[in-house]
Symmetry: C2
Subunit: 186 residues, 2 copies
């Protein structure tokens, strides 16, 4: 398989040729380039595992790409209206994955937290925050960071303390996934 | 007692007259004006109660003063070197209160969390984050917000689920305290 950057370049060329620049959405591009984060957080998995997967992906992305994620998270207002609508819809869908996992876990008795919406907001702020302080040359390795954050997230949700058997595997898959989406680090 | 704004104005005048502007530190000013957050988070209280008090104060301040706290949290680099040193020292001391409470709670068996330093970073980001989304006209009242955040914070720390008997009292004292420090809202 070609590197993700090249796949995205080819997919963009194809789509722009077929539909024009203004007719091409980000989702079209992601699909054409074969990018998907679905396998990590599949809806048939138990909610604690989905939350752990979401935390792994979110934390690793923000720790590895602090400048890029801060711009993506904070500068939506700088986009033109048409582009902003598209990005806001993607963001809402992404946050919906968190909300669904929290609400399902709440309904099924996995999570004792009283207010799923507040929990989602707290978790996203906590996980995005690593972009503001994480130092790759510091004392915490990336995979430890992801595992510890998933534990804290499950604690915040009022889950019974669990050590997910597949934490290391989930982190490994997350890193692989992020490597296919984000360009290789300098 | 005079309103806090007036007390700070008088204290500043006195100190500038005594020591000059450049000889006056923020701590001197706070002490002279009779401002202190100590009573909420006294070191003789059990760590879960201290954490709840810190969360109440931090969340209420950030929810009530979103623009001010975002500037204070994010724009330290804009200060001159001398002023920055002073503010950084105050920030370090403040974060030390969180760190101490978490470490003491960890050592004394209140908190199961594995990495107190990561927990402090996660909690501060999660609590500061309310400045980015909280809407006073939205569905969540300020005191509910503070109580729920303290519950989630204690969950994150791996504390046994507790309903602190004094949560409402602590929130009331926090609001009172913040009202003495921050100028009255327009």
């Amino acid at each position: 398989m070609e590197p993700a950057g090249e796949r995205i370049r080819i997919a963009a060329l194809e789509l722009f040729a077929e539909r024009g620049f203004h007719g091409t959405g980000i989702r079209d591009l992601a699909e054409r380039a074969g990018l998907s984060s679905g396998r990590q957080i599949a809806l048939d998995r138990p909610p604690p595992e989905r939350i752990a997967g979401l935390v792994h992906i979110h934390v690793l992305t923000h720790a590895t790409w602090p400048l890029e994620t801060r711009v993506v998270d904070g500068e939506m207002r700088a986009l033109s209206a048409a582009r902003r609508d598209e990005i806001v819809a993607l963001r809402d869908e992404y946050e919906g994955l968190w909300q669904q996992a929290i609400e399902t876990g709440h309904r099924q008795g996995y999570f004792g937290v009283q207010t799923p919406r507040l929990a989602r907001l707290a978790l996203l702020e906590m996980c995005s925050g690593v972009a503001r302080w994480y130092q790759p040359q510091g004392p915490i390795a990336l995979d430890d960071l992801a595992v510890r954050y998933a534990e804290m997230a499950l604690g915040l949700l009022g889950a019974e303390p669990v050590r997910l058997p597949s934490a290391n595997e989930s982190v490994r898959r997350s890193i692989e996934l992020i490597d296919t989406i984000w360009p290789a680090s300098g």
